[in-house]
Symmetry: C2
Subunit: 164 residues, 2 copies
DNA sequence: CGCTTACTTCAGAAATTTGTGAAGTTAAGG
DNA sequence: CCTTAACTTCACAAATTTCTGAAGTAAGCG
Protein backbone atom coordinates (compact mmCIF):
# COMPACT_ATOMS: atom_id res chain seq x y z
CA UNK A 1 0.00 0.00 0.00
CA UNK A 2 1.68 3.17 -1.14
CA UNK A 3 -1.02 5.52 -0.01
CA UNK A 4 0.10 7.12 3.22
CA UNK A 5 -2.67 7.64 5.68
CA UNK A 6 -0.40 9.85 7.68
CA UNK A 7 0.43 12.23 4.87
CA UNK A 8 -0.10 15.18 7.14
CA UNK A 9 2.47 13.92 9.59
CA UNK A 10 5.28 13.74 7.11
CA UNK A 11 7.42 16.75 8.03
CA UNK A 12 8.78 16.99 4.51
CA UNK A 13 5.32 17.25 2.98
CA UNK A 14 4.24 19.72 5.60
CA UNK A 15 7.29 21.87 5.03
CA UNK A 16 6.71 21.88 1.30
CA UNK A 17 3.23 23.26 1.71
CA UNK A 18 4.30 25.79 4.33
CA UNK A 19 7.10 27.17 2.19
CA UNK A 20 5.04 27.19 -0.97
CA UNK A 21 2.07 28.97 0.57
CA UNK A 22 4.36 31.39 2.40
CA UNK A 23 6.00 32.23 -0.91
CA UNK A 24 2.62 33.26 -2.30
CA UNK A 25 1.98 35.46 0.70
CA UNK A 26 5.39 37.06 0.27
CA UNK A 27 4.61 37.83 -3.35
CA UNK A 28 1.46 39.54 -2.16
CA UNK A 29 3.51 41.82 0.03
CA UNK A 30 3.85 40.08 3.42
CA UNK A 31 7.38 40.03 4.87
CA UNK A 32 9.06 36.67 4.69
CA UNK A 33 9.18 35.58 8.34
CA UNK A 34 5.59 36.56 9.15
CA UNK A 35 4.48 34.73 6.03
CA UNK A 36 6.30 31.55 7.03
CA UNK A 37 5.04 31.67 10.61
CA UNK A 38 1.51 32.24 9.45
CA UNK A 39 1.63 29.39 6.94
CA UNK A 40 3.01 27.05 9.60
CA UNK A 41 0.15 27.88 11.93
CA UNK A 42 -2.43 27.47 9.20
CA UNK A 43 -1.12 24.00 8.44
CA UNK A 44 -0.85 22.89 12.06
CA UNK A 45 -3.33 20.41 13.48
CA UNK A 46 -4.63 22.57 16.28
CA UNK A 47 -4.08 25.94 14.65
CA UNK A 48 -1.73 26.82 17.48
CA UNK A 49 2.01 26.51 17.95
CA UNK A 50 4.48 27.63 20.58
CA UNK A 51 7.47 29.82 19.91
CA UNK A 52 9.81 26.85 20.30
CA UNK A 53 7.82 24.74 17.86
CA UNK A 54 7.86 27.50 15.30
CA UNK A 55 11.57 28.06 15.70
CA UNK A 56 12.33 24.39 15.28
CA UNK A 57 10.01 23.76 12.36
CA UNK A 58 11.15 26.79 10.41
CA UNK A 59 14.77 26.70 11.54
CA UNK A 60 14.78 30.29 12.72
CA UNK A 61 16.03 32.03 15.86
CA UNK A 62 13.80 32.95 18.80
CA UNK A 63 14.37 36.57 17.83
CA UNK A 64 12.95 35.94 14.38
CA UNK A 65 9.90 34.21 15.83
CA UNK A 66 9.38 37.11 18.18
CA UNK A 67 9.55 39.66 15.39
CA UNK A 68 7.25 37.73 13.08
CA UNK A 69 4.72 37.16 15.81
CA UNK A 70 4.69 40.80 16.79
CA UNK A 71 4.10 41.78 13.18
CA UNK A 72 1.28 39.30 12.70
CA UNK A 73 -0.51 40.24 15.87
CA UNK A 74 -0.30 43.92 14.96
CA UNK A 75 -2.12 43.26 11.71
CA UNK A 76 -4.55 40.96 13.53
CA UNK A 77 -3.67 37.82 11.66
CA UNK A 78 -2.83 35.95 14.85
CA UNK A 79 -3.56 36.06 18.54
CA UNK A 80 -1.35 35.26 21.49
CA UNK A 81 -2.45 33.06 24.33
CA UNK A 82 -0.70 32.35 27.58
CA UNK A 83 -0.65 28.74 28.65
CA UNK A 84 -2.00 28.88 32.21
CA UNK A 85 0.71 28.24 34.80
CA UNK A 86 3.58 28.55 32.41
CA UNK A 87 5.48 31.30 30.75
CA UNK A 88 5.21 29.57 27.44
CA UNK A 89 3.03 31.30 24.91
CA UNK A 90 0.86 29.82 22.19
CA UNK A 91 0.13 31.59 18.94
CA UNK A 92 -3.15 30.93 17.18
CA UNK A 93 -4.74 31.66 13.84
CA UNK A 94 -8.41 32.20 14.23
CA UNK A 95 -10.08 31.95 10.85
CA UNK A 96 -12.67 34.63 11.45
CA UNK A 97 -10.01 36.95 12.62
CA UNK A 98 -7.74 36.68 9.69
CA UNK A 99 -10.43 36.79 7.04
CA UNK A 100 -11.39 40.12 8.54
CA UNK A 101 -7.78 41.23 8.67
CA UNK A 102 -7.36 40.41 5.02
CA UNK A 103 -10.32 42.41 3.84
CA UNK A 104 -10.09 44.88 6.62
CA UNK A 105 -7.75 47.24 4.97
CA UNK A 106 -10.00 49.77 6.61
CA UNK A 107 -7.21 51.72 8.30
CA UNK A 108 -5.31 51.82 5.03
CA UNK A 109 -8.32 52.93 3.03
CA UNK A 110 -9.15 55.57 5.62
CA UNK A 111 -5.75 57.14 5.21
CA UNK A 112 -6.06 57.07 1.44
CA UNK A 113 -9.37 58.82 1.76
CA UNK A 114 -7.90 61.46 4.05
CA UNK A 115 -5.06 62.13 1.65
CA UNK A 116 -7.53 62.42 -1.22
CA UNK A 117 -9.78 64.84 0.66
CA UNK A 118 -6.79 67.00 1.41
CA UNK A 119 -5.83 66.94 -2.24
CA UNK A 120 -9.30 67.87 -3.37
CA UNK A 121 -9.33 70.85 -1.04
CA UNK A 122 -5.86 72.09 -1.91
CA UNK A 123 -6.06 71.56 -5.65
CA UNK A 124 -9.61 72.85 -5.83
CA UNK A 125 -12.71 70.67 -6.26
CA UNK A 126 -13.63 72.20 -9.61
CA UNK A 127 -10.26 71.76 -11.30
CA UNK A 128 -9.88 68.80 -13.64
CA UNK A 129 -7.48 67.14 -11.23
CA UNK A 130 -9.81 67.88 -8.33
CA UNK A 131 -12.66 66.20 -10.16
CA UNK A 132 -10.57 63.12 -10.81
CA UNK A 133 -9.67 62.91 -7.14
CA UNK A 134 -13.30 63.35 -6.16
CA UNK A 135 -14.34 60.37 -8.20
CA UNK A 136 -11.47 58.31 -6.81
CA UNK A 137 -12.57 59.19 -3.30
CA UNK A 138 -16.12 58.13 -4.13
CA UNK A 139 -14.77 54.80 -5.31
CA UNK A 140 -13.03 54.15 -2.02
CA UNK A 141 -16.03 55.20 0.01
CA UNK A 142 -18.14 52.78 -2.01
CA UNK A 143 -15.70 49.90 -1.64
CA UNK A 144 -15.38 50.44 2.07
CA UNK A 145 -19.09 50.09 2.58
CA UNK A 146 -19.56 47.22 0.18
CA UNK A 147 -16.80 45.08 1.65
CA UNK A 148 -18.64 45.05 4.96
CA UNK A 149 -21.65 43.59 3.14
CA UNK A 150 -19.46 41.05 1.45
CA UNK A 151 -18.17 39.76 4.76
CA UNK A 152 -21.72 39.29 5.97
CA UNK A 153 -22.59 37.34 2.88
CA UNK A 154 -19.51 35.20 3.50
CA UNK A 155 -20.58 34.44 7.05
CA UNK A 156 -23.99 33.37 5.83
CA UNK A 157 -22.43 31.28 3.08
CA UNK A 158 -20.04 29.61 5.48
CA UNK A 159 -22.69 28.79 8.01
CA UNK A 160 -24.70 27.13 5.29
CA UNK A 161 -21.79 25.14 3.99
CA UNK A 162 -19.80 24.32 7.11
CA UNK A 163 -22.25 24.93 9.90
CA UNK A 164 -21.93 27.77 12.40
CA UNK B 1 -7.94 88.55 -1.81
CA UNK B 2 -5.98 85.74 -0.20
CA UNK B 3 -7.92 82.89 -1.71
CA UNK B 4 -5.94 81.54 -4.62
CA UNK B 5 -8.13 80.55 -7.51
CA UNK B 6 -5.16 78.83 -9.03
CA UNK B 7 -4.46 76.58 -6.08
CA UNK B 8 -3.98 73.63 -8.39
CA UNK B 9 -1.25 75.41 -10.31
CA UNK B 10 0.95 76.05 -7.32
CA UNK B 11 3.71 73.47 -7.77
CA UNK B 12 4.42 73.44 -4.06
CA UNK B 13 0.83 72.52 -3.19
CA UNK B 14 0.72 69.96 -5.95
CA UNK B 15 3.95 68.38 -4.79
CA UNK B 16 2.69 68.16 -1.25
CA UNK B 17 -0.35 66.20 -2.29
CA UNK B 18 1.63 63.97 -4.63
CA UNK B 19 4.18 63.05 -2.00
CA UNK B 20 1.60 62.56 0.71
CA UNK B 21 -0.65 60.34 -1.35
CA UNK B 22 2.34 58.42 -2.68
CA UNK B 23 3.47 57.79 0.89
CA UNK B 24 0.12 56.13 1.62
CA UNK B 25 0.46 53.93 -1.43
CA UNK B 26 3.96 52.96 -0.35
CA UNK B 27 2.67 51.97 3.06
CA UNK B 28 0.16 49.77 1.32
CA UNK B 29 2.97 47.96 -0.44
CA UNK B 30 3.59 49.80 -3.71
CA UNK B 31 7.26 50.50 -4.46
CA UNK B 32 8.26 54.12 -3.98
CA UNK B 33 8.86 55.29 -7.55
CA UNK B 34 5.74 53.71 -9.03
CA UNK B 35 3.74 55.25 -6.19
CA UNK B 36 5.11 58.73 -6.86
CA UNK B 37 4.60 58.47 -10.60
CA UNK B 38 1.08 57.25 -10.13
CA UNK B 39 0.20 60.02 -7.68
CA UNK B 40 1.61 62.64 -10.05
CA UNK B 41 -0.56 61.35 -12.87
CA UNK B 42 -3.63 61.21 -10.68
CA UNK B 43 -3.14 64.85 -9.73
CA UNK B 44 -2.39 66.10 -13.23
CA UNK B 45 -4.97 68.11 -15.13
CA UNK B 46 -5.30 65.83 -18.11
CA UNK B 47 -4.48 62.59 -16.37
CA UNK B 48 -1.52 62.20 -18.71
CA UNK B 49 2.13 63.19 -18.45
CA UNK B 50 5.21 62.59 -20.55
CA UNK B 51 8.36 60.94 -19.31
CA UNK B 52 10.19 64.29 -19.27
CA UNK B 53 7.40 65.97 -17.28
CA UNK B 54 7.44 63.18 -14.71
CA UNK B 55 11.21 63.32 -14.40
CA UNK B 56 11.20 67.05 -13.89
CA UNK B 57 8.30 67.19 -11.47
CA UNK B 58 9.58 64.36 -9.30
CA UNK B 59 13.28 65.11 -9.76
CA UNK B 60 14.14 61.62 -10.86
CA UNK B 61 16.25 60.22 -13.66
CA UNK B 62 14.83 58.97 -16.97
CA UNK B 63 15.85 55.50 -15.85
CA UNK B 64 13.69 55.78 -12.74
CA UNK B 65 10.72 56.96 -14.81
CA UNK B 66 11.22 54.08 -17.17
CA UNK B 67 11.30 51.54 -14.36
CA UNK B 68 8.29 52.96 -12.56
CA UNK B 69 6.25 53.14 -15.72
CA UNK B 70 7.09 49.58 -16.67
CA UNK B 71 6.00 48.42 -13.23
CA UNK B 72 2.73 50.34 -13.32
CA UNK B 73 1.79 49.19 -16.77
CA UNK B 74 2.48 45.59 -15.81
CA UNK B 75 -0.02 45.82 -12.97
CA UNK B 76 -2.44 47.69 -15.26
CA UNK B 77 -2.51 50.89 -13.26
CA UNK B 78 -1.42 52.97 -16.24
CA UNK B 79 -1.42 52.82 -20.02
CA UNK B 80 1.13 54.06 -22.48
CA UNK B 81 0.21 56.10 -25.51
CA UNK B 82 2.40 57.18 -28.38
CA UNK B 83 1.96 60.77 -29.46
CA UNK B 84 1.38 60.43 -33.19
CA UNK B 85 4.38 61.54 -35.22
CA UNK B 86 6.74 61.70 -32.32
CA UNK B 87 8.72 59.27 -30.27
CA UNK B 88 7.56 60.93 -27.12
CA UNK B 89 5.28 58.80 -25.03
CA UNK B 90 2.39 59.84 -22.81
CA UNK B 91 1.40 57.89 -19.73
CA UNK B 92 -2.21 57.90 -18.64
CA UNK B 93 -4.24 56.82 -15.66
CA UNK B 94 -7.61 55.59 -16.73
CA UNK B 95 -9.88 55.46 -13.73
CA UNK B 96 -11.79 52.36 -14.77
CA UNK B 97 -8.58 50.60 -15.41
CA UNK B 98 -6.99 51.20 -12.08
CA UNK B 99 -10.07 50.54 -10.01
CA UNK B 100 -10.10 47.14 -11.64
CA UNK B 101 -6.39 46.69 -11.04
CA UNK B 102 -6.82 47.49 -7.39
CA UNK B 103 -9.54 44.95 -6.78
CA UNK B 104 -8.34 42.60 -9.43
CA UNK B 105 -5.96 40.66 -7.33
CA UNK B 106 -7.38 37.79 -9.32
CA UNK B 107 -4.02 36.39 -10.37
CA UNK B 108 -2.78 36.56 -6.79
CA UNK B 109 -5.87 34.91 -5.38
CA UNK B 110 -5.70 32.20 -8.03
CA UNK B 111 -2.20 31.28 -6.94
CA UNK B 112 -3.23 31.24 -3.29
CA UNK B 113 -6.04 28.92 -4.18
CA UNK B 114 -3.72 26.62 -6.07
CA UNK B 115 -1.31 26.46 -3.16
CA UNK B 116 -4.20 25.68 -0.81
CA UNK B 117 -5.57 22.92 -3.03
CA UNK B 118 -2.14 21.34 -3.16
CA UNK B 119 -1.92 21.55 0.62
CA UNK B 120 -5.33 19.96 1.10
CA UNK B 121 -4.36 17.06 -1.12
CA UNK B 122 -0.97 16.48 0.43
CA UNK B 123 -1.97 16.90 4.06
CA UNK B 124 -5.20 14.98 3.56
CA UNK B 125 -8.67 16.57 3.36
CA UNK B 126 -9.89 14.89 6.52
CA UNK B 127 -7.05 15.91 8.81
CA UNK B 128 -7.66 18.86 11.10
CA UNK B 129 -5.18 20.98 9.14
CA UNK B 130 -6.75 19.84 5.87
CA UNK B 131 -10.14 20.96 7.07
CA UNK B 132 -8.81 24.36 8.02
CA UNK B 133 -7.28 24.75 4.59
CA UNK B 134 -10.52 23.67 2.96
CA UNK B 135 -12.44 26.39 4.68
CA UNK B 136 -9.79 28.95 3.81
CA UNK B 137 -10.02 27.91 0.19
CA UNK B 138 -13.80 28.31 0.32
CA UNK B 139 -13.32 31.82 1.64
CA UNK B 140 -11.13 32.82 -1.29
CA UNK B 141 -13.45 31.26 -3.81
CA UNK B 142 -16.30 33.22 -2.32
CA UNK B 143 -14.40 36.51 -2.29
CA UNK B 144 -13.27 36.07 -5.84
CA UNK B 145 -16.83 35.75 -7.08
CA UNK B 146 -18.27 38.47 -4.88
CA UNK B 147 -15.69 41.10 -5.85
CA UNK B 148 -16.86 40.87 -9.44
CA UNK B 149 -20.36 41.73 -8.26
CA UNK B 150 -19.03 44.59 -6.21
CA UNK B 151 -17.39 46.17 -9.23
CA UNK B 152 -20.68 46.01 -11.12
CA UNK B 153 -22.46 47.70 -8.26
CA UNK B 154 -19.77 50.39 -8.31
CA UNK B 155 -20.25 51.01 -12.01
CA UNK B 156 -23.98 51.44 -11.49
CA UNK B 157 -23.37 53.70 -8.52
CA UNK B 158 -20.92 55.84 -10.44
CA UNK B 159 -23.13 56.21 -13.44
CA UNK B 160 -25.90 57.41 -11.19
CA UNK B 161 -23.71 59.87 -9.36
CA UNK B 162 -21.34 61.11 -12.03
CA UNK B 163 -23.06 60.11 -15.25
CA UNK B 164 -21.70 57.45 -17.59
C1' DC C 1 21.63 57.31 -44.57
C1' DG C 2 23.19 59.42 -40.62
C1' DC C 3 21.98 62.67 -36.73
C1' DT C 4 19.40 63.34 -32.86
C1' DT C 5 15.94 62.64 -29.51
C1' DA C 6 13.38 59.60 -26.53
C1' DC C 7 13.36 55.82 -24.09
C1' DT C 8 15.50 51.31 -22.17
C1' DT C 9 18.88 48.38 -20.14
C1' DC C 10 22.55 47.43 -17.14
C1' DA C 11 26.26 47.51 -13.68
C1' DG C 12 27.12 49.10 -9.51
C1' DA C 13 26.85 52.48 -5.40
C1' DA C 14 23.83 53.61 -1.72
C1' DA C 15 20.10 52.86 1.19
C1' DT C 16 17.04 49.83 3.30
C1' DT C 17 15.46 45.58 5.21
C1' DT C 18 16.16 41.21 7.35
C1' DG C 19 17.70 37.86 10.67
C1' DT C 20 21.10 36.66 14.11
C1' DG C 21 23.64 36.31 18.52
C1' DA C 22 24.00 38.40 22.77
C1' DA C 23 22.35 40.88 26.45
C1' DG C 24 18.14 42.24 28.93
C1' DT C 25 13.56 41.55 31.19
C1' DT C 26 9.99 39.09 33.41
C1' DA C 27 7.84 35.62 35.93
C1' DA C 28 7.41 30.60 37.39
C1' DG C 29 9.34 27.23 40.57
C1' DG C 30 12.10 25.75 44.13
C1' DC D 1 14.85 35.30 47.14
C1' DC D 2 17.48 33.00 43.79
C1' DT D 3 17.52 30.27 39.63
C1' DT D 4 16.10 29.42 35.33
C1' DA D 5 13.09 29.28 31.39
C1' DA D 6 10.56 32.04 27.89
C1' DC D 7 10.40 35.65 25.43
C1' DT D 8 12.04 40.52 23.86
C1' DT D 9 15.17 44.07 22.49
C1' DC D 10 19.22 45.70 20.34
C1' DA D 11 23.41 46.29 17.54
C1' DC D 12 25.29 44.76 13.66
C1' DA D 13 26.41 41.73 9.55
C1' DA D 14 24.39 40.09 5.46
C1' DA D 15 21.21 40.09 1.90
C1' DT D 16 18.19 42.59 -0.85
C1' DT D 17 16.25 46.50 -3.11
C1' DT D 18 16.42 50.95 -5.21
C1' DC D 19 18.08 54.53 -8.09
C1' DT D 20 21.58 56.53 -10.85
C1' DG D 21 24.86 57.45 -14.67
C1' DA D 22 26.44 55.53 -18.71
C1' DA D 23 26.01 52.91 -22.61
C1' DG D 24 22.69 50.93 -25.86
C1' DT D 25 18.64 50.80 -29.08
C1' DA D 26 15.22 52.57 -32.03
C1' DA D 27 12.59 55.78 -34.60
C1' DG D 28 11.62 60.38 -36.57
C1' DC D 29 13.67 63.89 -39.46
C1' DG D 30 16.62 66.14 -42.51
Amino acid sequence: MTEPKEAGRDPETLSRFVEHFAAQLVEAGLPRMPARVFAALLASDTGTLTSAELGEQLRISPAAVSGAVRYLSQVHMLSREREPGSRRERYRVHSDQWYEALTNREAVIKRWEDALREGITSLGPTTPAGRRLTETLAFFEFIEKDVAGMMERWRAHREERFGA
